[in-house]
Symmetry: C2
Subunit: 347 residues, 2 copies
């Protein structure tokens, strides 16, 4: 992604340009924002999930919080175009820990400390705003518009650089007692196992995340350089081996890369078995960069889960690939804004 | 427990004997039934959790389903006394897999196959009836009247012969897609670990349940008979070592028993960490026979969980002992009947 903003106006909204009344039963669109370490994605989304306009802007992680608030407001007020003026609310998904009141408490990849994001954005754009964790927003998006549509009990597991998750139970996104339900990357799959980036060892994330796959591959390359010849060739040097290196070697037919990914499937299945037996969802949605790069991990994972989980828990279970890709966050944030904010007309 | 029924009438209900109108705001009591492999426990419970009458009857596991239905009906209609006549509904918790329609599908410790328990009991006692899994009933009881009272996000983990669990999220008992949410004994804590009684290996139950503690102790006794001298003395022979043997030896200051239980705490903490990071409850309730026999396992488990789980997930967390003991099931079944069945007056 370049540093320039990219805007795309997909289609005009119904009945706003000419001041016509909205068709009966329709409600104003909402704006979704996905605030991550590299980009601010914004979009105007209708009740039924159509994208009326979308925009991407790089996150200036060296800028003050005030400048990033201004950048978000500018994306909403200018870059999204006139269709944003018909929106009734803003939903922001942010890669960090958020309180129920919309205060960003901590964000490992964003440079600010505690930030009252909801109130700052409400002041800046004069629209009711909600702020949630980006993975929960993406879960809501996959449930409302993606692979979990129409289901009551859905668990999303997003496997990217890290591993995050979200839970829909009995038709509601679950928050937990301190707004952090769904940290499924940090279920233990191996007591006293690999050190995680969290305080614990043996977490699912420490085996199947992008960083963990890279780390496991580097360890093997250090002890078995002959077997790892192709990984080393692709990466250039041992320390440059990443999950992407393993993926590339696997696609080229490399035996070690296949072994690493087969173990990854075993680890992933162990985590999904715990999820399935605990939550009893009808759908487990697997997404995130690792899965998008290697969707072929899904069928063998599903086969293992069906062998290992309780029969009654897998009887009606589907394990599927996420349907919205990187748009899940922005679409979910917009839909959550609709669901949570008292409906108001356009400004 | 003897084979004779034991009945106890605790107090007369308000306003039923003399035909007085019920005080404003009060609703009829409900009947809870806990149908297990050894006993049928029944009780008449008020809305606020008072036990008006209770009764225990041995389960005749060699009898036909028809005779057990008749025994339950007899407990309700005769043994509980006149107070049962004021009840508005019946809730049955049963140690097995139950469909949402109240059909018992399978029950490892009960001799019948598929049994439409709800409709059979409704026919027999002419009261609206609900049937649920006994562990979920006990979870509801602990939440309504026990250690989880007043909380919105509660997870119960019952560690007895096996390990079962139940989930209250956002103020509702969760069922999952096929009515089996909360099988927390079957979360993986050790990939390729100890064989479980389910199809999988490495489950929490395979480490901390009564059967698993006994099995682990017998394995140690087989390889280290000197260290296991006290276990062998208490049990009489290696094959007779049980979890109870370990408990007794631990209370007598035995070093090996202490080691076995310290490992049990590590295993239990690994499971609770997964639960806490996944569900983000405000309270984790530990109950069941193993915990009732060894409540001193709770503080060291809590200490480990606080070290290992995500900081935000343990910030407001309490880990507590179950409050209702073996009455949780019957009280929860009665409360679920109240919550689920449209309220009707007494017969």
């Amino acid at each position: 992604m370049g540093r320039r903003s990219k805007a795309r106006i997909d289609r005009a909204p119904r009945g706003t340009r000419a001041g016509l009344p909205r068709p009966p039963g329709s409600s104003p669109p909402t704006i979704g924002v996905d605030l991550g370490g590299t980009k601010i994605a914004t979009a105007v989304i209708t009740e039924d999930g159509r994208v009326l306009a979308s925009h991407r802007h790089p996150t200036e992680t060296d800028a003050s919080a005030q400048r990033v608030i201004a950048a978000i407001a500018n994306c909403i007020e200018t870059c999204l175009g006139d269709v944003a003026k018909s929106a009734g609310a803003v939903g922001i998904g942010v890669a960090g820990q958020v309180t129920p009141a919309g205060v960003l408490e901590s964000a490992p990849n964003l440079p600010w400390g505690r930030l009252p994001l909801r109130s700052k954005i409400e002041q800046a754009v004069a629209l009711p705003t909600i702020v949630v964790n980006d993975v929960r927003a993406a879960t809501f998006g996959e449930w409302k518009f993606g692979a979990g549509r129409g289901e009551s009990d859905v668990v999303c597991l997003f496997i990217g650089t890290g591993v995050g998750g979200g839970i829909v139970a009995d038709g509601h996104l679950r928050n937990g007692a301190t707004n952090t339900a769904g940290e499924l990357g940090h279920i233990t799959i191996q007591l006293d196992g690999r050190k995680c980036h969290c305080p614990n060892s043996g977490c699912l994330e420490a085996y199947v995340s992008g960083w963990a796959i890279g780390e496991r591959a580097r360890e093997i390359a250090a002890t078995r350089p002959v077997a790892a010849a192709r990984l080393l060739t692709i990466a250039g040097k041992p320390s440059a081996i990443r999950a992407e290196t393993v993926t590339e070697a696997y696609r080229a037919g490399d035996a070690l890369a296949q072994q690493i990914l087969e173990k990854t499937v075993e680890y992933l299945a162990a985590g999904v078995v715990s999820i399935v037996n605990s939550f009893n969802p009808s759908v487990v949605i697997l997404g995130g960069g690792v899965i998008e790069g290697l969707p072929s991990l899904i069928p063998p994972t599903e086969a293992l889960v069906r062998q290992q989980a309780l029969e009654v828990a897998v009887r009606d279970l589907r394990i599927v690939r996420a349907g919205l890709g990187p748009e899940a966050g922005v679409m979910g944030a917009a839909a959550l804004a609709r669901a949570k904010v008292a409906r108001r007309g356009p400004r």
